[in-house]
Symmetry: C2
Subunit: 438 residues, 2 copies
């Protein structure tokens, strides 16, 4: 029976999970693949810590170079993360003709265009199922299962930290700060949560998915990104009264010669299955011309779910090595010469429904002034609610719009904030209605 | 550029959808695969009907034999269905060295053990993504994405007809008969709905999934099957009051040396995502030791969703042909010599929560008699409700149990029906609680 030798770079949370699966489920994997997957070397800066996995003598090393240059090793797994040494080692592994598996969405989203080109030129795999959505098989589904579909749109909850925080605000009435502290105490958020809560991690994932779906170059810098740190319990409560939940969504839409790609808090109606995805879970709806909507759901992070996705890539590559079919599926879903730069539509140009909340003085004529400015900018209202009454002070004035253009909305709001009757910055949340009606 | 030639057997609903994708999306598929997928021949008994797809001269034929023996054709797609001519043609295609794609769950569930062996011996692919769950990529997910996981359980809504009918009873208070008539008028149910509503179609799919998940021989005859024709609006209403929906579930559980495999109406709590899957949609939760729960959701039937799954198989095989890697993934997920007969646990031996509804006389002592018999058979009650009051006549007496053994439940019910105070056959619905508590 043949043996495929594997080298692992980084043995933190995900790396340890990968080692655990490859060792504990080795017999089952062998009975599926028809070959032995042997975890030959692991490089980490800390080789003394007990990781709860029984490793053979000489498996652990602090010398990562010795792993990526080991002539026996067929597949190198990178679970170090970040843009520094991870990139250097991936490049060295590719240069040495190794097949590479990575979960590093930040690196792929930022430097994927060159990395994928280098891997393709060298004729090696660069697999990344674990980079988006943890154990949800979203990369394989886009590249393989939906291969006969023109992808029309995607809409995903791709960051468990944000979804946990929004669920806590929704269920417990927490402020953002309290919910964040809870997420940190549960291990669902980092000490510095910026990458997650400001939407950048979600944008990394959206850049990867958008490229795969449409055969586009990666476009991270063009993605509009807005995080969840300004979401208040008040807006979540009003959303609920209108029949909506607020989720941080990665949204991508095929607009023919351009794509929409944006990350922001979004109101979605209760009957959208994504609205039932709570806590640190991930889910994504993909719309194709043949399938309509399909949805994938699962744990988007964590040791074992992410490791499961890494192992699925390792097995895929092992199967390619065993049958001499490396390069069987193009890295970015489309053949190299069919990957184009597809422009990302500026957020100003999108058309959406909107929710506004104004802190307005409770006096006659306020509604007329605000709605007059909106009307001047072609924004028509579906409903208006004044929530509570406070004589003299300000009260929340909540509005839901019909479809409107973002640039008009921004212009109108910039006028409205200067009204004397408006006492604070308005809240704006975009609304995705599943029926797409006006 | 290379060309892969395709022959299609049967050009009804799904076949027409396949033709439409292969022709209308041919250019996109080429830019992904790097080869041309050419639909060379289509065999159907009716070659005159306009199918709304532009077909070249000489593509259509009534002679199916000429397709499966055509030396140019690489891949044969069977979308005829049923156990008759479809089997004969698949066998002839295999004998002629063709790769085969089928959506025929009835055939695979019944005769898959021999068909897969014959295909494997001949060294050809026999692909079947479209046989379960329409466009949900459940076969690929089990065979490839979860390859590092020991599968622990699966729980699926796999028949759109039943789910549509149950949704109608739930939402509109229809009787089963009215809801079935609505399903038939919408085209969601056949004129003879037995295969769907009595659970047999779901059992076909469960047989396939159970085999793939555990490396087991197909076991259709051992699956316990109970349909939805006895479900009443009353039971659905009571379920709702307890916080449950009723769905026809395919349930499979890994019990070590045996598996559970059963199809029956099941109460699931509102917080189980499957309870939000309404109308003709399909969904499945798969539990693996590494991933925990993942869920797939999408259209389980219909022309284009099913055709999309067929095309994903066709492309997979085309890629194997182009890279010389036919047989890259074993047909039934495990290598031939690792597929075993794994016994299906008789339904008598399962342990479950139960819902009972008795039509009982509204008089003192009734509850004591019924609960006494249940207690004698080690069945303890979680809650008891008498719904309404009708002096002299019978009233519904509803009970939810803690975990109990099916054989004990059946024995207890057979005693209870003989009580004079019980005026009708009791309703029994099994309950799956997501937390698995007692």
């Amino acid at each position: 029976m043949k043996t495929i030798h594997i080298g692992l770079l980084g043995c933190g949370t995900v790396g340890t999970g990968v080692a655990r699966i490859l060792i504990q489920n080795q017999e089952m994997i062998r009975s599926r693949v028809g070959a032995t997957l042997n975890l030959k070397r692991i490089a980490d800066i800390d080789i003394d810590r007990d990781r709860g996995v029984l490793l053979g003598k000489d498996v652990l090393t602090t010398n990562a170079d010795s792993v990526v240059t080991d002539p026996d090793i067929d597949i190198v797994i990178e679970t170090i993360g970040g843009l520094g040494i991870a990139k250097t080692l991936i490049l060295k592994a590719i240069a040495n003709g190794k097949q590479v598996v990575t979960a590093n969405k930040a690196l792929l989203a930022s430097e994927g265009n060159s990395l994928f080109r280098i891997a393709a030129d060298k004729g090696v795999e660069l697999a990344f199922e674990a980079s988006v959505g943890g154990c949800m098989p979203v990369i394989k589904t886009l590249r393989e299962s939906l291969v006969g579909n023109q992808i029309q749109a995607m809409s995903g909850i791709l960051n468990g930290t944000c979804n946990y925080i929004l669920s806590k605000i929704t269920d417990d009435g927490d402020t953002f700060e309290t919910a964040l502290a809870k997420a940190q105490s549960k291990g669902f958020a980092e000490a510095d949560p910026t990458l997650d809560v400001e939407g950048f991690d979600t944008a990394h994932k959206l850049a990867i998915l958008t490229s795969l779906a449409y055969g586009a170059d990666l476009c991270l810098d063009d993605i509009y990104v807005e995080g969840i740190s300004k979401i208040t319990p008040l807006d979540i409560e009003f959303a609920g009264q209108f029949g909506y939940k607020i989720k941080l969504l990665a949204i991508s839409k095929n607009r023919g010669n351009a794509v929409e790609a944006r990350v922001h808090p979004t109101m979605i109606p209760f009957d959208n299955l994504l609205s039932s995805v709570n806590g640190p879970l991930n889910a994504i709806t993909i719309t194709g011309d043949a399938v309509g909507d399909i949805l994938l759901y699962g744990k988007g992070a964590g040791m074992m779910p992410t490791a499961s996705a890494v192992v699925s890539d390792v097995v895929d590559i092992a199967r390619n090595l065993l049958t001499g079919s490396v390069g069987r599926v193009p890295l970015l879903s489309y053949q190299k010469d069919h990957i184009h730069r597809i422009p990302v539509m500026p957020v100003d140009e999108i058309i959406s429904h909107y929710y506004f909340r104004f802190a307005a003085l409770d006096q006659p004529g306020v509604l007329s002034k605000i709605s007059g400015i909106l009307g001047n900018h072609c924004i028509s209202l579906k409903s208006v609610h004044q929530k509570g009454r406070k004589s003299g002070g300000s009260v929340p004035l909540v509005m839901m719009t019909h479809l409107a253009k973002e640039s008009n909305v921004q212009l109108a709001l910039s006028e409205i904030v200067h009204l004397e009757v408006v006492s604070d910055m308005p809240a704006l949340i975009r609304v995705e209605d599943s029926n797409g009606s006006d």
